[in-house]
Symmetry: C2
Subunit: 213 residues, 2 copies
Amino acid sequence: MENKEISNAVIKRLPRYHRYLGDLMAQGVERISSQELSIRMNVTASQIRQDLNNFGGFGQQGYGYNVAYLYQEIAKILGLDRENSMVIIGCGNFGRALANYQNFENRGFVTKAIFDVNPDKVGNRVRNIPVLYIDELAKFLQNNDIKIAVLTIPREEAVKVTEVLVDNGIKAIWNFAHVDLDVPSDVVVENVHLSESLMQLSYRIAEAAKNKK
Amino acid sequence: MENKEISNAVIKRLPRYHRYLGDLMAQGVERISSQELSIRMNVTASQIRQDLNNFGGFGQQGYGYNVAYLYQEIAKILGLDRENSMVIIGCGNFGRALANYQNFENRGFVTKAIFDVNPDKVGNRVRNIPVLYIDELAKFLQNNDIKIAVLTIPREEAVKVTEVLVDNGIKAIWNFAHVDLDVPSDVVVENVHLSESLMQLSYRIAEAAKNKK
DNA sequence: TAGATTGTTAATCGATTAACAATC
DNA sequence: TAGATTGTTAATCGATTAACAATC
């Protein structure tokens, strides 16, 4: 009820905590202090404690944090304790690459179908996931409980398909199209703008070159 | 010389300005005020003016900004006015997807070669880009002026290959491997952690579900 | 108990927004 | 010139870091 409104900065850091804790578990580490973890992750111990305390007290004074327990709690916070069914829109190189990525499935992100406009691709399977014709998307969404739609299609198509998705109750979109989608406030969009990421890298190269002079 | 140290928040927004200005150009818009642009981009006009003034005064009082000019200036700031040659390490689904992405080339990011451990893949071509054996990487870097190395390989391999890259003078890494690379301070790394992006989306889904109750 | 380390409050730092004088 | 809008300074807001009392 009383929602403290977690800041975006914190949310972005959660998956990284999850990863480091998973690595620690794999290394057989049982407990860790915010201090030790801060050194490994190259952040401040204060930040770690502040971040975690947004969600509750997971540690114990004088002891630190139990790695396995904290790992599990963060997984819960991130919603990794349930299945997130997905559809991928666009069976191009990217769509197929994502469909083939076993790792997502391990974390509960299961792709149920891939959709494409190209009739030649329809009927194929990618790692046992059926490729369906894009016109069947609306019906598919009505008949299946899909949590996430992944958009790996060009911008114009992405804008059009988003309407179909929203009209058919999709509440989460993972958007690889290079466009800002306009959706109702109860639909969450996570953008992956690869060309923007590449441009940031390019900026830093240019900056480094300038500083050398 | 006097480097004002541009904040990360600003750098992240630059590509988005670039995109919106490109769209405006395509729409035939010649001039735009920070106010108009702020409405389209859903940010404050103040932020736009502050951001741009980190790099110089590109506007004119009483007029606003010339779209084509500002577009070009931001492109320069982002280093898009020169060629950024790349190599892609890993000819899996992702490596091939990136190699096939024509859009990068249009912005000056040209892939010169793809490297892989699998001898079966070596000798093939992806859109005319040769696939070479990973053992030839060091020699290739010595004989070619490569700006960016793109890592689309598993984490353990990524860590190993990074050593080869750094030893052979690579100063920029676009890292798709789910690991934090340890590099000297003059090497810039831009991470694309897809599973972290997906987890953030998952968090927001979980959060929305909680708030509904 | 003494030592360690959390949870949390207070202080600092940085980024965003507001305001307005400068100027086209 | 009058109106519009920038460039920039000042005010506010939020996030990070420091400090320390609580407590295991």
